[in-house]
């Protein structure tokens, strides 16, 4: 069986990995010159389903809690399992209580515990939440390594491919083009996220830190080599243009609130990614003839792509065993499968 995947972001690459493991012949067409997609390249890389559960439905926790294991198995050495620290300025500590009440999997820390975990934050916060089971990775390194691995095991990449790269001769085509499908896929919208990269020797962190604020929650993820990613805004637009002055100011303000030494850090990069999202902010795949569309990862690409990739790969290979004659039509006729809310099979059409 031959499968063409359009898009070499985290959705396309994880799917290629799962299909390759099932001995499917995979090729990837990517319009850019490198792997990494758009939103994936600017991702935080936090594998933090318990933190995300604060504002996301149970599905995100259920599908995301195995993500760290998947990445660890696929790319040994990339996953850093040091948990997530959640802090709030003294006047906003009520936000910590609210955050803790909306999710699970965390412990309350006092000032001493915080110092033990992150010595550079000593004396800055009296209370914190610690999500012990969470992990993180460097998205760009992970994407690059996954690309290299896939290449080595026989996946063929076509970079700088035309958007309508020919799918002749393929049994299945999987569209993993993310935000590119906005305007074509019904209900798909963009949620703009801006980030920046700071470089400083004056602060050292060993795990992602989330700073709660009633209006401007933010995270800082240490990338090693004195670098810190600060993110990310959430704006209801698919405008991919450069970071706005307001967003830059808010992100820098928050970094300063976490530690004043960030004032002397160098801003070495700013970036904007557009997260593709459906109205429920959950990913889904849609089957339409031999085409499968995988999209809507919102801000959970690295967290949820492995799980969805497993489902799509299972679907593709189960078809190989006998369902080939079945035709799925009608994107609008969505039926929710009760046990897996994110999967929307489109099987109301006539069988061939």
């Amino acid at each position: 069986m031959r499968v063409l995947i359009r898009g070499a972001g985290v959705a396309g690459l994880t799917l290629a990995h799962e299909l390759q493991a099932k001995s499917v012949d995979v090729e990837i067409a990517e319009t850019a010159a490198r792997a990494g997609g758009r939103a994936s390249w600017f991702a935080g890389g936090m594998l933090a389903p318990w933190c995300e559960r604060e504002s996301a439905p149970d599905t995100v926790l259920a599908l995301g809690c195995t993500a760290a294991d998947w990445w660890d198995a696929a790319l040994p050495g990339h996953v850093i399992r040091k948990g997530t620290l959640v802090v709030a300025p003294p006047r906003d500590t009520v936000e910590l209580t609210r955050f803790a009440a909306r999710t699970c999997g965390c412990d309350w820390l006092d000032a001493g515990d915080i110092t033990a975990l992150e010595p550079d934050l000593a004396g800055r916060f009296r209370k914190a939440l610690f999500f012990r089971e969470e992990a993180h990775l460097d998205p760009r390194r992970a994407i690059t390594a996954l690309h290299d691995k896939l290449r080595a095991i026989g996946v063929r990449f076509h970079f700088e491919a035309a958007p309508d790269y020919s799918d002749e001769g393929f049994d299945r085509v999987v569209d993993c083009t993310g935000a590119n499908a906005i305007g074509q896929a019904a209900d798909l919208r963009g949620v703009r996220g801006e980030m920046l990269m700071l470089e400083t020797s004056d602060v050292s962190l060993s795990r992602p830190v989330r700073l709660l604020h009633p209006r401007i929650p933010l995270y800082i993820v240490p990338r090693g080599d004195r670098r810190f990613m600060v993110g990310a805004t959430m704006i209801e637009t698919d405008d991919p243009g450069p970071i706005s002055a307001r967003s830059l100011m808010e992100l820098l303000n928050a970094a300063y609130a976490l530690h004043p030494a960030f004032c002397e850090a160098r801003v070495i990069e700013t970036g904007t990614g557009v997260r593709p999202a459906y109205t429920d902010n959950l990913p889904r795949f849609e089957i339409d003839g031999r085409t499968i569309r995988v999209n809507g990862f919102y801000r959970h690409g690295f967290l949820l792509a492995p799980s969805i990739a497993g489902d799509v790969a299972a679907h593709v290979t189960s078809d190989l065993r006998g369902d080939i004659g079945q035709m799925f039509v009608g994107v609008e006729a969505k039926l929710r499968s009760p046990e897996r809310a994110h999967v929307i099979p489109l099987q109301t059409g006539a069988n061939r």
Partner: protein
Amino acid sequence: MLELYGISVASRLLLGTARYPSPAILSEAVRASRTDIVTVSLRRETAGSRTGSVFFELIRTLGVKVLPNTAGCHTVSEAVLTAKMARDVFATDWIKLEVIGNHDTLQPDVFALVEAARILNGEGFKVFPYTTDDLVVAERLMEAGCQVLMPWCAPIGSAMGPINLPALRSMRAHFPDVPLIVDAGIGRPSHAAIVMELGFDAVLLNTAVAGAADPAAMAAAFTGAIEAGRVAFQAGLLEPRDMAVPSTPVIGKAVFS
């Protein structure tokens, strides 16, 4: 029925649309609240993009009247510009006017607010000004052409509920015929009931619903509280007394003390 700039509305809850976990949950909350009016913030970068239109399309499909707001504006010119963009995007002359004086507390800059209200009313907008409970500012807003006033009852997002009841009472007394909508500071349904019992005409809130664990259920809870407060106000509330008053006559009963 409550009448706002000539439009009759059945629901006395105006619901904000920001910061819900997802647009789908926002839709559920709006339905559960049975509100007639939602407020939508128009950030400048949102206008004109494809997604802005997806999100705004979702708001339009809710089937309720849209009250665009100028949240995040700090100057008169910014607020006026945003109001004009909102008029184009949502095809309405209604505008919830916010001019923020302090980035941190989001307290309104009442001087700029009056000025912006004067300009916008002059250009045919129907202005809903987000203001403090200051009576003189309220009078200036009326002079500037506003026919609705929206005082806070506590700082935005504070969830403190009415922190200055005498000020709210005196506002109601000074403007008996002006629609007064409490905007900002409501944290719980009981807060909303309190201001409705004072005779306020409606309540506008966002975070208290959007930030709840179950926004749709909380929206329904607010609707119930607001209706209860309104009916109680109309039914005539007892004034508190300093001592007990028996509810059954005591004359003719044996007295043992």
